[in-house]
Every structure is written in C-alpha cells, then in structure tokens.
C-alpha cells in the first residue's frame, strides 16, 4: 500500500472516530445521520449548541492531546533508543502534573500560566531521569533509564497526592484533573493546544532526519555530520514541551506515547520522516476513540479518560517489557 493511501486511511479513521464520538452523550437527538448538518448549519437548536459548545471542544482536546503525547513518545523513543521509553514511564508526565499541582496549590504561583508550570515540571523531571540514567552524553543505560523514570514518577506523584490531604475543594480539583477528566474543557483551552500540536509536528519533521541517524549509533551520526547530543537535547526538549502543554489541559494521560509509536512502526516502518505524520494521526485517533469509550463504559456516567487509557496502556506496557529483546 502506498504511503499516501495509508495516511488517507488514518485520516479517515480520525474523522470517523471524531464524528462517532460527537454523537455519544446524554441527548437522544444527535445521530450519525444528522451530525454533519448540526456541525455545519446553525439552526439555533439545543442539539446544535450541545455539539458545538460542549462536545466539540472535548473531542478536539482529546484529538490534539493524542497528537502531542504520541509525538512526545516518538521523540523520546528515538532519543533514548529505547522501545519502552515514553513520557509516562520516564516520569515526565508526572513531573508536569507536579508543576500544575504546585500552580494550583501555592498562592504565589497563581498568576503563572498552567502551561508554563507543566512544561517546567516536565522538563525538570526529564532532566532528573536522564541525569540518573547517565546523561545525554550517550551512555544511556536502557533499563536504568526506565527504573529512574519510575522512581522520578513515583516521587512526583507522591508530591501530587500530598495535595489530596489539603483543603477539600482543592483536592477534588486536583483529583479530577489527575484522572484526566476532560468532560468540562472549553474552546479557550483548545486553541493553544492546536498551536502546540502544529509546532510539535513541525519540530518532529525537522528532527526526523536526526532521529533516523541517531538510530544508527553515535559514531555513525557524527560521521554523517550530525551532533547526536544536539539531536537528543532538542528531541527531549520537544517531548517535554509537548507533554507539558497537553498535561496542563487534560491531565496526565498515560501510555499514549508508548502505544502509538509502537503500533505505527508495524505499519509505517522505521523511517521517522514517514512515522511523524502517522504517529500524529494515530495518537489523535487513539485518544478520540478512548474518549468515546470513556463515554460508553458506564453509560450514562462518564469514566475519566486517564483511567481508560491506563486500562488499555498498562497491559500493553507489560506486553512490551516481556517482548522487548534489546533490553535482555
């Protein structure tokens, strides 16, 4: 199958999943048959406003959080040359959560935007994990990297849980956000997320050649005129920024960055230039589907997106650790 056809298929999956997800919810008058007309024609009905004001922002948040997290995972796997790396395993997700929790809890940080705090937290957690595992200099021990990430994640997460014991309203706010409940996002939160996603796709495409060369090993990449440390630094920074931007809006959604690049490699091969668009589309598709599932699991109640993703992703992580040959 030519590459273009595969992309078109993926786009079709994303669109179909998004339309399906838009029809799911409490109202009985929105179906696949009338969803398109509700989206395009403003007939002033309540159904129209439910779709545009309530469901569309949510689906778009799921879509672009999926894009960002999947791209972050791809960059991390390329940078660490470790098939198990992803933002949730390396503690970056939890670091971003800690940044947001601090911004919510500490009064003197009230003016700082959540995005910025999340990105700072993500970057700091990533730095600590990499430093423990041997730094960006090249001698990254793969299993140590993962275990360091788990420890950094446990530490950050313990700090986040610390806020549960504080004031009841604060703790409820943090708990809802930590379980990645995106049912009440607004349009204002969607726009910056879309901007981050475009920056992410662009940045990943620019780094794609570097990622490809990195896979050949440090010696080879130096021979080809590419500084491996620079690619690693840029890739890790990109991952931290994308993770932080998503976590600030949707909470720590786990395992997307692990699962999507893996599945895409089966279908699109190892070339990062082809992988970047595929991973972006695949991440969007997966999270839109997961969001649809989160509406369906206990209909009419909703299950937070983060929990659905953990239920899908944790078994996949176990499968990946058992089958990862390069780690043994």
């Amino acid at each position: 199958m030519p590459l273009a056809v595969r992309y078109v298929l993926l786009i079709a999956v994303v669109v179909a999943a998004a339309l399906w997800s838009l029809t799911l919810g409490q109202r009985g008058d929105i179906h696949l048959s009338n969803i398109l007309s509700l989206l395009w024609v403003d007939d002033g009905s309540l159904a129209r406003s439910a779709v545009i004001d309530l469901r569309l922002p949510r689906t778009l948040v799921a879509l672009f959080v999926g894009v960002n997290l999947a791209l972050a995972g791809l960059a991390l796997q390329a940078v660490t040359r470790n098939p198990l790396a992803s933002e949730s395993i390396l503690g970056i997700n939890q670091g971003a959560s800690l940044g947001v929790a601090l911004a919510v809890v500490l009064p003197f940080l009230a003016g700082v935007p959540l995005d910025l705090m999340a990105i700072l937290g993500a970057a700091l957690a990533g730095l600590v994990t990499f430093a423990i595992a041997g730094g960006l200099g090249g001698r990254l021990d793969s299993i140590r990297l993962i275990l360091a990430g788990v420890a950094v994640g446990a530490f950050s997460y313990a700090c986040v849980r610390f806020t549960y014991t504080l004031d009841d309203d604060l703790s409820r706010l943090v708990i809802n956000w930590v379980s990645a409940d995106i049912s009440s996002v607004s349009v204002q939160q969607v726009l910056p997320l879309i901007a981050w996603s475009f920056a992410g796709v662009l940045g990943s495409l620019l780094l794609a050649h570097g990622f490809n060369v990195l896979a050949l090993g440090d010696g080879a990449s130096q021979g080809l005129g590419i500084d491996p440390r620079r690619v690693r630094f840029l890739g890790a920074a990109l991952a931290a920024v994308l993770t932080g931007a998503s976590v600030a809006v949707a909470g720590p959604v786990m395992f997307v960055g692990l699962v999507v690049p893996h599945l895409c490699r089966f279908w699109f091969g190892q070339n990062h230039r082809a992988l970047v668009p595929a991973v972006a589309l695949g991440g969007g598709a997966l999270l839109v589907l997961a969001d649809a599932v989160s509406k369906l699991v206990r209909f009419p109640y909703e299950t937070p997106l983060g929990v659905v993703c953990a239920l899908i992703g944790a078994p996949y992580f176990l499968y990946a650790t058992l089958t990862a040959r390069r780690l043994a």
């Binding site: 275990l147 700090c159 610390f162 929990v307 944790a314 058992l322």
Partner: protein
C-alpha cells in the same frame, strides 16, 4: 575476648539502640497531632498510673495507629529482606515486584463488590491479590533468565496493570465512597482502629515467626543454589515457601494500612549497613528499622501541619524514591566495576 564476640556485642548493642529508638518514636508519635499530649501523660495513661491521663485520645485513637504502624512496618521490612535474599536482587521489594498493587486491587475489589463481608476477609483477599501479582512476576522469571533490573522492570509493569485496575474502581465508585479508600490506599493510618489491629495481628505474627524460623535456611540459600542443594536444602521448594511468606506479610499489611511504598526496600538496606548480611541479624534488624520508619512517618505526617494529616505512605514515597535511585546507582556501579 575473641574478635567474634566483639562483632556480636557491636551488633547486639546496635539492635538494642534501634529498639530504643523505635520505642521512643512510638511514644513521640502518640503525643503529636491535633491535640498535643505530653510524654508524662502518655506514660500515665499507658501504665494506668496516678496523675493526668488522656484515655480517649491515646487508647482509642492513637495507640491502635501506632501499633498498626509497628506491625505493618515490621512486616513490610521482613518481606523486603526475604524477597531481596530469595531473588538476589538489591532492587527488589514487595512494591517493586507488584505485590503491593496486587493486594491493593483485590482489597478494593472486595470493598466495591462485597461491601457487607466482615473485615476479617480483607487480609485474605489482599493475600490472594499479592500472590497473583508475585506469581506472574515469578513465572516470567522462571522461564527467562533476567538481570536484576529487568526483573524489577517487569515487576513495575505488572504493578502498573494492577494499579490501572485500582484507579478504575476508585473513579467508578460513587462519590461518597471515593475519598475514603483513596486516602486509605495512599498508605495512611488515618482512621485505623483496634478492629484493624485484631484482624491483622495474628497472621502477621505467625508469618513473621515463620520468617524468623527460616533465617538459617536463608543464609544457606545465599551461598548459592549448588552449595545449598549440597547441604540438603530443596532449593526450589524453599524459595517458593519464602516468597509465599514474604507475599503474605506484605499483603496483610497492605490490607490494613494501604500501600506504603519503598519501606520494604529501604529497611533491609539500612539494616544491612548496620549489621551485615547474616540473616539471623538482618531479619530482626530490618523489622525494627521498618517499625521505626513507619512510626516516624506516621508521627511526622501528623506533626507537620496539625490538624491536617499527611499520609505516612506519601512521606515514605518522598523519602523512598530517592533512596531507590541511590540503590540503583550503587548496584550498577558494583556490577560495572
């Protein structure tokens, strides 16, 4: 005096010191909290002497907590020491190989599916969960030769699967039920009473005694499989028995105090620094260290910002995660060099 006696004395005095510290921290932790109670009042109350007493706060609220902290800390530490010896992995602990998460999942399942069952079933169910998690990890380790770090990685992955289940159950339970198990699961002694002590004390004591009986065999096991077999030990059977004992100890403590991450990792390492690797000394010292750590964490959690309480489990994780990294870094360099 022979040199052997010197070492013996040094170890004995260290153990005595540790026991004294544990006792002191337990008494201190009885006194701190929303209502501060001075030491002389505590002693009066405990020994029922003349003078000021605080019977309600001390006997009904704080004493069961402290007793549970000591029980759970000792059990987790023993469990960690045994697991580290059996799978010869300095990174191993009941938390890392997934026992804690497995026990937590089954405990939450029991609470949400059969809320009317008497609390005595809780430790049993938690043990089933812990055994199934440990079983998966051990099964994998049985079929593949794994480096210590890789085994820890698989344990972490198994733990994540169980934790995802716990998250699902917690979030889907109705709001009123949500907060109680959540606080409990983060490893907290909040709201624990004598009922929790009475369901857990018998299994913990029995299995702790079993662990201490098996110490001599643990020493033989540490000589290597071949030597242990030569000395008449049935190694696979012994391993299985020891792991079962360790799993039960950890699971029962999860059933009553929730997940106290990293205690089972830290206590044996600290104890090994103090008294060396001989299990006759290591096991009791680990247990004392675990008791000291958990009762300190519980006391600190209440002392930081009364009347708020910080879960002991959170404090343990804040302390334990850096400790884990430290152990990982030193183990790796030993292997390299």
């Amino acid at each position: 005096m022979t040199p052997g006696q010197g070492i013996y004395r040094r170890r004995a005095s260290l153990v005595a010191l540790l026991a004294a510290l544990t006792l002191a921290s337990a008494i201190w932790s009885l006194g701190v909290g929303a209502v501060k109670v001075p030491v002389d009042v505590i002693v009066n109350t405990l020994l029922n002497l003349d003078g000021d007493q605080q019977r309600y706060i001390i006997l009904k609220s704080r004493l069961p907590r402290v007793v549970l902290a000591l029980l759970a800390g000792g059990a987790l530490a023993l469990s960690g020491a045994i697991i580290q010896a059996v799978i010869r992995n300095p990174l191993a602990s009941p938390g890392i190989i997934g026992i804690n998460s497995g026990a937590a999942l089954f405990a939450v399942l029991l609470v949400s599916l059969l809320p009317d069952l008497p609390p005595a079933w809780m430790p049993v169910t938690a043990c089933l969960g812990g055994l199934s998690a440990a079983g998966i990890v051990m099964l994998v380790a049985h079929f593949r030769t794994l480096s210590p770090a890789h085994l820890a990685l698989i344990g972490v992955a198994v733990g994540l699967v169980f934790e995802a289940g716990v998250d699902y159950l917690l979030v889907t339970s109705s709001d009123a039920e949500r907060s109680a198990p959540l606080i409990w699961l983060t490893g907290s002694l909040w709201g624990r009473n004598w009922d929790h002590v009475s369901v857990s004390v018998a299994p913990l004591m029995i299995f702790a005694a079993l662990a201490l009986v098996l110490t001599y065999r643990l020493d033989l096991l540490s000589l290597g499989d071949a030597s242990a077999t030569g000395l008449g030990i049935r190694v696979p059977l012994l391993r299985l028995a020891l792991l079962a004992v360790a799993t039960v100890l950890a699971s029962v403590s999860v059933a009553v105090v929730g997940v106290m991450g990293f205690i089972g990792l830290m206590a044996p390492h600290i104890a090994r620094r103090l008294v060396g690797g001989s299990h006759r000394w290591l096991l009791p010292t680990s247990a004392l260290t675990g008791m000291l750590l958990v009762s300190l964490a519980d006391g600190l959690g209440r002392a930081i910002a009364p009347p708020l309480e910080v879960s002991a489990g959170i404090l343990a994780a804040l302390l334990g995660a850096p400790f884990f990294v430290y152990i990982m870094l030193t183990t790796a360099s030993e292997q390299d060099g």
